[in-house]
């Protein structure tokens, strides 16, 4: 379970770069973009841990994001609690959602599981809009407090949690957990025949995935200072999946790179914001046809070979 030295150095350099860049550039605008990008990184990594390893693509990841974000919203705005309470609460609520939806849907095959999760998120989105007295409807909840007054400090907090997320999930992926999850991807019946409780591992990995996604949701909420039903939207789940495809499914760190890449690209194309979805879609098509392993994880693996 120990990291190879080259991976450790690579990860440290990446983390250090992410830490230094906003400080050196000193622009709140850049820091803000990067904070959002890091949130996407947390979401992408958490998606990858469950769906990337087991191969059961979850098209409703936004369910957990929205659950975490709205938890932050309720605690902070509706109940006036300090925003720091959101950080432990959001994952717990997201995990609860994952248990409720996971049990009935995890026994479904690939595309059906994907679409059942998508339906779950869509139902949640509709319910959020309908019960507007509680949730603020289409306008959502406004007036959340940030965790720090300084944007830079909030950025470092998000970076800290991103590192925690990636390290935890990568350690799990390299442990027997990871082997078992990949075996589930290979053949579930054989897993059963090998004495593994497949249902337990599927639900548990979904719960872990949900916990980190919910945490990311809370961090995002306390950055944007508002939450709305868009956080449950299908398109959010799809964007995250595209980021994972670009990064390289199953690697955990790849999706983080994918998230950073696509977020920065989007900002770079700000002038052509109508074309944003074009770009994402074209990239997705390109990846599906030519780079099924993704871009970043294979790239890193190549670099590793060269480094030796």
């Amino acid at each position: 379970m120990v990291m190879k030295p080259v991976d450790f150095y690579g990860a440290s350099i990446a983390a250090a770069t992410l830490a230094l860049v906003p400080w050196l550039l000193g622009s709140n605008y850049v820091t803000g973009i990067l904070t959002v990008a890091l949130c996407f990184g947390i979401w992408a990594a958490s998606w990858d841990f469950m769906s990337g390893l087991t191969g059961r693509e979850n098209f409703g990841h936004s369910l957990f994001i929205g659950a975490g974000a709205y938890t932050a919203g309720f605690l902070n705005v509706s109940y006036g609690l300090s925003p720091w309470w959101s950080l432990p609460a959001a994952p717990i609520v997201a995990v609860a959602f994952s248990i409720v939806i996971g049990f009935p849907t995890l026994r479904l095959r690939g595309p059906y599981f994907a679409l059942a999760m998508l339906s779950g998120a869509a139902v949640m989105q509709s319910l959020t809009i309908i019960f507007s007295e509680v949730t603020g409807g289409q306008d959502g909840l406004n007036g959340l407090y940030p965790l720090f007054d300084s944007e830079l400090a909030q950025y470092y907090l998000t970076l800290f949690f991103l590192v925690v997320t990636v390290v935890t999930l990568k350690l799990l992926a390299n442990s027997p957990w990871g082997t078992i999850l990949r075996a589930i991807k290979g053949d579930e019946a054989s897993c059963q025949a090998a004495g593994i409780n497949v249902t337990f591992y599927k639900i548990a990995s979904l719960m872990i995935s949900a916990a980190f996604a919910g945490l990311g949701g809370a961090l995002y909420a306390h950055y944007q200072l508002q939450v709305g039903p868009d956080l449950f939207a299908v398109i959010l789940s799809i964007n995250i999946i595209i980021m994972v495809y670009v990064g390289g499914m199953g690697s955990i760190y790849g999706p983080v790179c994918g998230a950073l890449f696509l977020n920065l690209l989007t900002e770079g194309l700000r002038g052509l914001s109508e074309y944003r979805l074009w770009v994402y879609t074209l990239i997705l098509i390109f990846i599906l046809f030519f780079l099924q392993q993704g871009l970043f994880a294979p790239l890193w693996r190549r670099l590793r070979e060269v480094a030796k």
Binding site: P176, T179, I180, R182, A183, K185, G186, D187, A189, S190, C191, Q192, A193, A194, G195, I196, N197, V198
Partner: protein
């Protein structure tokens, strides 16, 4: 000696098809028994019922003194009843050793630790030791069979169910595999139940045969007796001529016919 496996009145229907009909038999610990029957006799269904992959309509299965009714397959495995599949199902995308490691993580054996080393040992035992690091996708068919056995051994079963282990193997591969099975039976003290319909190798391996046809047990006995049992012969004549030739040959090998 109490039986390791005790099956009473097992029944399974699929719509109009009575796949397993009133099946009852016992296996003594340490025995190596065969289930013989033409295609469609209900042999694999029987295995699925014993291992929890299907639920019986009626009947009791007692393993090691405990009833197995309604347990999920993985729990049955952790009680000591392991199986291989007729169509091998490796974990694609992983190496040969990782395939066995998965079984080393089963609750029954997890505490032993050092999964990698244990997996390697099981691979050595079945003759795949040198191939442990290659991806399982490129493994030839005969090796995949051995891998299935290694994976089943990794959970340290008391009873091992082998579903047509010789199916699809070329003549040069069959004898080594039969030797391996015999060896494992000897060294590990495993109780083994084999499904096959390739007569010769099978008859030389097992000490007792349960003959099935149309879901029912038609005879239980020693290989030499079963081969001449009228209903068994009838079942094979009814299905293929090759089967009859096999019976004759098997009888000749055993020095009877």
């Amino acid at each position: 000696m109490t039986a390791l496996l005790d099956v009473k009145g097992l029944n399974k229907r699929f719509g109009g098809l009575h796949a397993v009909k009133d099946v009852s038999f016992s296996l003594a610990a340490g025995a190596i028994t065969g289930v013989l029957g033409p295609n469609g006799a209900g042999k694999t269904t029987l295995f699925n019922l014993l291992t929890g992959f299907m639920a019986p309509d009626t009947g009791i299965v007692e393993f090691d003194g405990h009833a197995l009714g309604g347990l999920a397959p993985h729990r049955i495995v952790n009680r000591g009843l392991a199986r291989t599949f007729q169509l091998t199902r490796p974990f694609i995308g992983m190496t040969v050793r990782e395939n066995v490691e998965v079984a080393c993580f089963a609750p029954r054996v997890r505490h032993e630790g050092h999964a990698r080393a244990r997996a390697q040992r099981f691979l050595d035992q079945v003759g795949l030791g040198a191939k442990s690091a290659i991806p399982v996708d490129v493994l030839p068919y005969g090796d995949l069979r051995r891998l299935e056995i290694a994976r089943a051994l990794a959970v340290r079963p008391k009873l091992l169910l082998l579903d047509e282990p010789f199916a699809g193997l070329g003549t040069s591969e069959i004898q080594p595999l039969a030797n391996l099975i015999r060896e494992l039976h000897r060294t590990e003290g495993l109780t083994i139940l084999i499904i096959e319909h390739k007569l010769r190798e099978f008859m030389q391996l097992v000490s007792e045969v349960i003959a099935m046809d149309f879901g029912e047990i038609v005879a239980i006995g020693e290989p030499q007796t079963i081969v001449r049992h009228p209903r068994v012969v009838e079942a094979y004549i009814g299905k293929t001529d090759a089967g009859l030739a096999d019976i004759g040959r098997a009888g000749g090998d055993l020095g009877i016919a």
